[in-house]
């Protein structure tokens, strides 16, 4: 059953999938990787992004990617608001670990259940012209519904990386992760910077959600499948490294797809978590971690 054709296609679609995973994980890479905030609710925000794309696509026929980009500023504001609550309740009082985790856990739950109450458990789809088309390169297929999200995800990752390494605010975000005290001495307000970073993380969820619903149908509990994946990617990539996150995402995509194709899709969910557990056991700092 092993053929070059099948293998090549599995690897290529794994890369496309992994690229998309990077878009989902990048928000967490900023928030958890740089700021050590365990936002376990990030995939739930991605699903909200998917539903936003679905609503505007089915009501007004707007392209999902466009919706994602337009919704990003709104998501940014929501992110800032959530960070303020988080800061006031936990960071200021120094109780991050236990309560902060449970806070985001509860938040994730509220988001999922609210979506179920409002939209029900039916799968939602978007229609976009490119999703039914496939580019063929010899015996390798590039389906539109995977290729477009891949390209957008790569653009997003590059944009965020440039932002963090080239702009003032971006470098301030990296600084607050490395040495908060020094930053304060230089006159910058760590709270404002973290707030900005958290908002940025949630803003990426708007775009990632739009990409998710292009790839396949979405319903509220789909977010849970991504918790393991995003944490596996950020941990494997190494905290604080965007390049590491990208490589980890591509690796995960390819591994999952190979397992799915050759062993059967029923084992695919365990891949991400298996990778996560293995990384934590063997090299918790990840590939490129600090």
């Amino acid at each position: 059953m092993f053929s070059a054709d099948l293998l090549a296609n599995a690897v290529v679609s794994g890369l496309l999938l992994g690229g998309f995973y990077a878009a989902v994980a990048i928000g967490l890479a900023i928030v958890f990787g740089q700021l050590d905030i365990v936002n376990i609710a990030h995939p739930a925000f991605v699903i909200v992004g998917s539903y936003t794309a679905y609503i505007l696509n089915s009501r007004f026929g707007l392209d999902p990617v466009l919706v994602g980009v337009l919704a990003a500023p709104l998501f940014f504001i929501v992110g800032v608001a959530i960070y303020r609550i988080y800061y006031a309740a936990f960071e200021r009082t120094g109780q991050e670990s236990l309560s902060g985790l449970a806070f985001f856990f509860g938040l994730m739950f509220i988001i999922e259940v609210t979506l179920i109450l409002v939209y029900g458990v039916d799968y939602r789809l978007v229609s976009a012209g490119y999703s039914a088309q496939t580019l063929a390169f010899g015996f390798v297929d590039l389906p539109g519904r995977m290729l477009v999200p891949f390209v957008v995800a790569m653009t997003l990752t590059a944009a965020v990386w440039l932002y963090l390494s080239r702009t003032f605010m971006g470098r301030a975000i990296q600084a607050v992760a490395q040495d908060r005290g020094a930053l304060q001495l230089m006159g910058a307000d760590p709270v404002r910077i973290k707030q900005w970073a958290f908002g940025l993380g949630i803003a990426t969820a708007a775009i990632a959600g739009a990409l998710l619903i292009i790839i396949g149908p979405v319903e509220p509990s789909v977010g849970r499948q991504y918790i393991g994946r995003v944490f596996a990617i950020v941990v494997l990539g190494g905290m604080g490294s965007i390049q590491g996150m990208l490589i980890a995402a591509l690796l995960l995509g390819v591994t999952e797809n190979l397992v799915s194709t050759f062993y059967g899709p029923s084992w695919a969910p365990a891949v991400a978590f298996g990778v996560l557990l293995a990384t934590l056991a063997v090299r918790p700092a990840g590939l490129f971690g600090r």
């Binding site: 050590d36 365990v38 376990i40 609550i85 006031a88 309740a89 109780q95 670990s97 236990l98 309560s99 985790l101 449970a102 806070f103 856990f105 509860g106 938040l107 739950f109 509220i110 259940v113 609210t114 179920i116 109450l117 849970r224 918790i227 393991g228 944490f231 596996a232 941990v235 029923s266 084992w267 969910p269 365990a270 991400a272 978590f273 298996g274 996560l276 557990l277 934590l280 056991a281 918790p284």
Partner: protein
């Protein structure tokens, strides 16, 4: 609560439970209290690691499900009686708790929490692929015909759960006031300092995870008989994990009575809402209450009560 006071209260509750089985005959009441008692055991168990030791476990549903699937496996393979299955579930889940603890407790609390989530999904995938216990399509447990002197099987399950619940509270209470418990509290407050003062942190943490795992397995063991149909999606349901966290946090994590109060309050509210409005709404309720209590009253109801008494005196 003094030792004899606690024992007297437990005996009284047991007697009340027996009386209840004689007086009430609508199986619905027994089903509803079973659910609340199950949540109570899960909450008490979670608090041993979460409240006493300060490590958050998101994978509670996995321990619960493994307890349930242990029962299913033993029933299909050997047809053992329920008490043996409960013991087996405690053993298996205790071992899993030990293993998970050993693999991840060297890491920071955050990583431990994520690892528990990971472990949950891995276990769920394994069960999904194990066709002997039904795999993804689930399996059935027909209600056995014998139910001792009780009028129905649901009544017997209720009494079993009551005994297990009181037992788990007793264990939790004993743990919290023992030397072991003080060591756990030291770990919760400042692990590095505790380690420096000579507290054998790793060993104590492993005891915590093992006891927690065993207790959650015990909560899950009678579940297949209660619900008659088990599939991985319902057994490993994240809602069980949320409840296990929310109830102690709402009740108060620092005292052994916290999870009990939280479970009784929240559990009963959930049953009422499920019957009167919808079951989705009660899931939302738990999430909202969890977030509200964490942000506004992190010490839970016990903490609020203490503050109130302190103000008075």
């Amino acid at each position: 609560m003094r030792g004899w006071g606690f024992r007297a209260a437990s005996a009284a509750l047991l007697a009340a439970g027996l009386a209840f089985t004689e007086l009430a005959d609508n199986p619905y009441y027994f089903n509803a209290t079973y659910v609340v008692l199950q949540a109570l055991i899960m909450a008490v168990a979670w608090n041993i690691l979460g409240g006493f030791t300060g490590y958050v476990n998101f994978g509670s549903a996995a321990f619960f499900a493994v307890g349930a699937y242990t029962t299913i496996f033993l029933q299909k393979a050997f047809g053992l009686p329920l008490p043996l299955m409960i013991l087996a579930a405690a053993l298996v889940c205790g071992l899993i708790g030990l293993a998970v603890g050993y693999l991840t407790l060297r890491l920071k609390g955050v990583y431990f929490a994520i690892a528990t989530l990971a472990m949950g999904i891995v276990l769920e995938t394994l069960v999904n692929n194990w066709s002997y216990v039904g795999g993804a399509k689930g399996t059935f447990m027909l209600t056995p015909d014998e139910h001792l002197w009780f009028d129905s099987y649901s009544e017997m399950l209720f009494m079993i759960m009551l005994v297990l619940a009181l037992g788990s509270i007793a264990v939790s209470r004993a743990l919290s006031s023992s030397r072991l418990g003080r060591g756990l509290a030291a770990i919760r407050d400042d692990e590095v300092a505790a380690e420096c003062s000579g507290v054998p942190t790793l060993r104590l943490k492993l005891v915590s995870t093992t006891v927690m795992g065993a207790m959650m397995g015990v909560a899950g063991a009678p579940y297949p008989y209660f619900v008659t149909y088990v599939d991985p999606i319902s057994a490993f349901n994240l809602f069980i994990a949320v409840n296990a966290i929310a109830m102690p946090m709402i009740g108060g994590t620092s005292h052994w009575a916290g999870p009990v109060i939280g479970a009784l309050l929240v559990g009963s509210a959930q049953e009422v809402i499920t019957v009167t409005i919808s079951s989705e709404l009660n899931v939302l309720l738990v999430g909202i209450m969890l977030v509200l209590f964490i942000t506004l009253a992190p010490q839970g109801i016990v903490g609020l009560a203490r503050k109130h008494w302190r103000k008075r005196s």
